[in-house]
C-alpha cells in the first residue's frame, strides 16, 4: 500500500473518530440539559399550574427521549 494511501486512511479514521468523540460528548451534555429542562418544567408546574404545562412536559419528555435515542444511534453508527 502506498504511503499516501496509508496517510489518507489515517486521516479519515482520525476525522471520523474526532467527529464521533465530539458528538458523543455533545450529546451526553445535551441529555443532561434536556433532563434539567424537564425538571424545571416539572417544578414550575407544581408552583404555578397552567393549561400549557402538560404540553410542555410532553415536549420535554419527547426531547429527552430523542436526545437519548440519537446518542445511542451515534454510538452505533459512527
Amino acid at each position: 500500500m502506498p504511503v499516501e494511501e496509508i496517510t489518507n486512511l489515517t486521516g479519515k479514521f482520525n476525522t471520523a473518530f474526532g467527529v464521533k468523540a465530539f458528538l458523543i460528548l455533545f450529546l451526553v451534555f445535551y441529555c443532561i440539559f434536556a433532563v434539567m429542562l424537564f425538571r424545571q418544567i416539572q417544578l414550575m408546574s407544581r408552583t404555578l399550574p397552567t393549561v400549557v404545562f402538560p404540553l410542555l412536559k410532553f415536549l420535554a419528555i419527547i426531547h429527552i427521549g430523542v436526545s437519548l435515542a440519537i446518542l445511542f444511534m451515534v454510538l452505533g453508527v459512527f
Binding site: 479519515k12 476525522t15 471520523a16 467527529v19 458528538l23 455533545f26 450529546l27 445535551y30 440539559f33 434536556a34 434539567m36 429542562l37 424545571q40 418544567i41 417544578l43 414550575m44 407544581r46 408552583t47 404555578l48 399550574p49 397552567t50 393549561v51 400549557v52 410542555l56 415536549l59 420535554a60 426531547h63 430523542v66 436526545s67 440519537i70 444511534m73 451515534v74 453508527v77 459512527f78
Partner: protein
C-alpha cells in the same frame, strides 16, 4: 374602568395567540402558597414580542444546513469523502435537535418569568437560567413607590416596558420586565395598594 376590564385589557395586549390564551384564563388560576381569600388580579409575562430575537436566531440556525453545506462545497471542503450518508444525516438530525432545544429553552425562559399581582401581594418568579430561579414576594402595604418606564422604539411602538416597584420588603426593588402596558399595570398596582391600605391589618379581602 372596572378591575376586570383593566385586567382583560392588559392580558389581551400580551397577544391573542393560542399560547397567550392561558394568560387570560390564569387570573382564575392558583399558585403554590396562595392564601385563603387571596386571588390573582394580574398575571404577567414579558411581552410576546421579546421572543422575536431568539425566534430570529432560531430561524437562522434552522436554515443553516441549507447555506453551510453549499458554502463548504464552494471552498472545496467535501464531507462526503470522510463521512458516509448515515453519518451526515445524523449530524443534521443532531443540529435540528440543538435548534429545537435552543427554541424550547428560550420559550421556557420567557414562559417562566411571571409577575403576579394578587389582592394581598406582588410575586416575582424570576427564571434567570436553567439553574437559577428566584421567587420574591412583597406585601402590598410594603410597596412605597411604583414607576412605569417605556424605553426604545419597540417599547413605544408595541407598548411594553418595565415597572419598577420600590418596597420596604427584604428585596427593596421589584422589576416587572417588558410587560405590556406598564402604565396600566402600575395604575392597577397602585389601586390595589390603596385598597390594601384601607383594610384592617391581617384582613384578606
Amino acid at each position: 374602568m372596572a378591575e376586570e376590564d383593566i385586567s382583560q385589557l392588559i392580558h389581551a395586549s400580551q397577544g391573542r395567540s393560542s399560547l397567550s390564551m392561558p394568560l387570560l384564563q390564569s387570573t382564575r388560576a392558583f399558585f403554590e402558597g396562595q392564601e385563603k381569600g387571596e386571588h390573582i388580579i394580574l398575571m404577567l409575562r414579558p411581552h410576546v414580542i421579546t421572543l422575536a430575537p431568539p425566534a430570529f436566531v432560531a430561524l437562522i440556525l434552522f436554515l443553516a444546513p441549507f447555506y453551510i453545506i453549499p458554502f463548504l462545497k464552494l471552498i472545496n471542503i467535501d464531507l462526503s469523502g470522510t463521512l458516509n450518508f448515515m453519518q451526515t444525516f445524523l449530524i443534521i438530525i443532531i443540529w435540528y435537535l440543538f435548534v429545537f432545544g435552543y427554541s424550547l429553552y428560550h420559550f421556557i425562559f420567557w414562559y417562566f418569568n411571571i409577575y403576579i399581582l394578587t389582592n394581598e401581594r406582588i410575586i416575582d418568579f424570576d427564571f434567570k437560567g436553567l439553574l437559577n430561579k428566584e421567587i420574591s414576594y412583597a406585601k402590598l402595604n410594603q410597596i412605597q413607590d411604583i414607576s412605569p418606564k417605556t424605553i426604545g422604539f419597540f417599547g413605544t411602538f408595541v407598548h411594553f416596558g418595565n415597572v419598577f416597584i420600590q418596597t420596604a420588603a427584604e428585596r427593596p426593588e421589584f422589576e416587572f420586565h417588558n410587560v405590556a402596558r406598564p402604565d396600566m399595570v402600575a395604575q392597577e398596582i397602585l389601586k390595589q395598594v390603596r385598597h390594601e391600605e384601607g383594610e384592617a391589618p391581617g384582613e384578606i379581602a
